[in-house]
Amino acid sequence: MEGFLQALAAGLLIGAVYGLMCVGLGLIFGVMRVINFAHGDFMMLGMYTAFYLFTTFGIQAVFGNAIGPFVAILLAGPLLALFGYLVHLALISRVSGTRTALLEGEGHYAQLILTLGIALILQNGGLIIFGSVLASIRTPLSSSAWELGPFFDISVFINKARGIDAIASLLILALLTLLMTRSRIGKSLRAAADNPTAATYMGIDVDRAHRIAFALGSGITAIAGGLLATNYPFHPFVGLEYVIVMYAGVVLGGMGSIIGAFWGGMTIGLVQQMSTLMLPTQLQNAAIFVVFLLIIFFRPQGFFGRMVERT
């Protein structure tokens, strides 16, 4: 029982961060219909940005090792959003949005090649700039826990860093939901996602909406990466380890649904941790894809497909 509760707690905590990662990708795909293979590398940049803000730009000295990492992580989000905005302006906009009419396969081939190219440049550029030494946002919270219990001799440990990561993920999801449903920007994003042509006729600048979506998606994933980095050491190629998780989460949740992407990521976290109760640990990643295939088999549209087909 203790093992079950501990795995459940770990699955929920890590699932919340996976969920936030998937939300970033889901937002970009939902609004722009662009498959961004560089998304994991934007997450990597978010990790390094948070790391350098924390260690080099004085946040550690001002806020200390407990609060400082989270301040740095939250600041990394807007910086990566700005970076995403510029990448879209300079590169992605040339193969997406209104320009796709001129491109073969609605621009998807060009988008795949372009985002793969960006991924390679970010990975190898990261290796040149940041080096190959593993980096880590070191906080004492990652090796300490809140102990729930003992109740009937059962204690469950909640890792402090992971606990704060999960709360931060939920807060950001809530803010994003408010932005998408209550603000003018959110409405323009949804309109651009639902029907770009009609949105253009209604006076919405679809390319600008796409740019904002790309920036938001990049910023959110950067924050998710930063949260992950409080527990997980990283290197310039770390994006490769998570990009599959992100895509699986987005597909599980229903392509194009933000809330679906979050639950997709959460499902992956839960399956990854809870599968170890029944299966050998080395099969935990295989278990993710078995569940993934089962869900796709029985519900091809994903959890939230069709109902909220687009954001």
Binding site: G3, N124, H235, F237, T281
Partner: protein, 414 residues
């Protein structure tokens, strides 16, 4: 009328021919004593294993610099060693392709070293064996030298041998320090070739031999996303000893921090590893020194007593805080190649391979235990192990006594 070909001064056609022949011979002689001799280093310099590759390059560069500064290869008229560095990438496929590129483009290499992961070395040596290029390696897998290959030379003790040498020593240490022998053991390991080979020897022979009962055995595929399921099982079983065998720093961090989080650290369950990962300088970028204090690991080599000057030079030149096995072994490989070249007397890969096979260089200065001599399989004779323990934020050699920089302590339950 026949023209007289004899000139005053005795210069005949024969003289001219013999002079030309002599000139030709001297050219051959010069070819046998080249200005420089190329040796290869094939290691990962891109992808996730870049860091160990870079560290091995440091060791090779230091070795070459020292050899050349001391007069190069004397048997070849003082020829200088030249390092050719090849990136083997981060997959076995890339490693094999890199090896093919190396043997095709660098035809004058006389020997090579490197590859880092056993799985990469297995792929690389398939190619170097066909090219008859002698390859030294620090990789541990027993399989490397069980294929009947003639051009591979394993300088480290094999994974199974390291278990055989390391575990009894640890048990003695535990008994002398704590007054009782551990009876139960948990083993957490990744599924890389080295860990699998180590675990095989432990489970098939050594646990029974040392009277240890295996109460938890968990294997994971790196990289771990979270170590909760693993450490929860250890927490439930409460073994006397934990063997934790990660081969990625991220896995080591997640495991050790979870041990600490669950209140099992600081000697509550003494933790021992069987890989260099847990003592890499990168660890301190990821965890605080108290998380690793007292943890021991059994490795094939380490910068130890007698290597103080090298360690100081490494610190000054490359800013490395200590000398891991990757540096010292690759440094030693350069000297081993020099020895073979001196013995071979010519810059020829077949002659160098033969020199490795027949080498009898006495005690090894840059590898623990044994001699500079290889057996029929290509394994270094008497290769030993080093036990390293984290003490106050630095992994120091604590065994064997002749190499120890500090005395070991057995972490006690607090």
């Amino acid at each position: 009328m026949r023209k007289d070909t004899t000139y005053k001064g005795g210069i005949t056609r024969r003289t001219v021919l013999s002079g030309a022949a002599a000139m030709g011979l001297s050219r051959v002689a010069r070819a046998e004593q080249p200005q420089e001799v190329k040796v290869g280093l094939i290691v990962p310099l891109s992808g996730i294993y870049t860091r160990p590759g870079q560290v091995m390059k440091m060791g090779a560069e230091m070795g070459i610099e020292h050899i050349n500064a001391q007069g190069g290869i004397k048997a070849l008229g003082g020829a200088k060693l030249k390092l050719v560095v090849i990136d083997c990438g981060d997959t076995t496929e890339k490693a094999k392709n890199a090896a093919q590129r190396m043997v095709a483009q660098e035809t004058d290499l006389v020997a090579a070293t490197g590859a880092y992961l056993s799985s990469f070395t297995l792929a690389v040596t398939e190619v170097t064996e066909r090219a008859q290029l002698p390859m030294l390696t620090l990789s541990y897998s027993d399989l490397l030298t069980e294929r009947g290959f003639k051009f591979i030379f394993q300088t480290a003790a094999t994974a199974s041998r390291q278990s055989e040498l390391g575990l009894p020593t640890l048990m003695k240490l535990a008994e002398s320090a704590s007054g009782k022998r551990p009876k139960t053991v948990a083993m957490l390991m990744d599924n890389t070739a080295t860990s699998v080979a180590t675990a095989k020897a432990l489970k098939e022979k050594l646990f029974a031999q040392e009277g240890l009962q295996l109460v938890v055995e968990e294997v994971w595929t790196p990289p771990l996303s979270d170590a909760t399921p693993l450490i929860q099982k250890v927490r439930s079983a409460r073994p006397d000893l934990l063997l934790f065998m990660p081969n990625a720093v991220s896995d080591a961090k997640l495991g050790l921090e979870k041990i600490s989080e669950f209140g099992l650290g600081q000697g509550k369950i003494p933790t021992v590893s069987f890989s260099i990962t847990i003592a890499e300088p990168d660890m301190l970028q990821s965890v605080t020194p108290d998380v690793v204090q007292g943890i021991m690991t059994i490795v094939a080599n380490w910068g130890s007593k007698g290597h103080e000057d090298l360690i100081a030079e490494l610190k000054a030149k490359y800013k490395e805080p200590w000398m891991t096995q990757n540096v010292i072994s690759t440094y030693g490989d350069m000297w081993l190649m020099k020895n073979a070249l001196e013995k071979a007397g010519k810059a020829d890969r077949l002659a160098v391979a033969e020199a490795f096979r027949n080498l009898d260089g006495g005690p090894s200065k840059y590898y623990p235990g044994g001699e500079l001599k290889f057996d029929d399989k290509g394994r270094r004779v008497g290769a030993g192990v080093v036990i390293v323990q984290w003490q106050s934020g630095v992994p120091v050699t604590v065994y064997p006594p002749e190499l120890a920089q500090a005395s070991p302590f057995w972490p006690k339950k607090s």
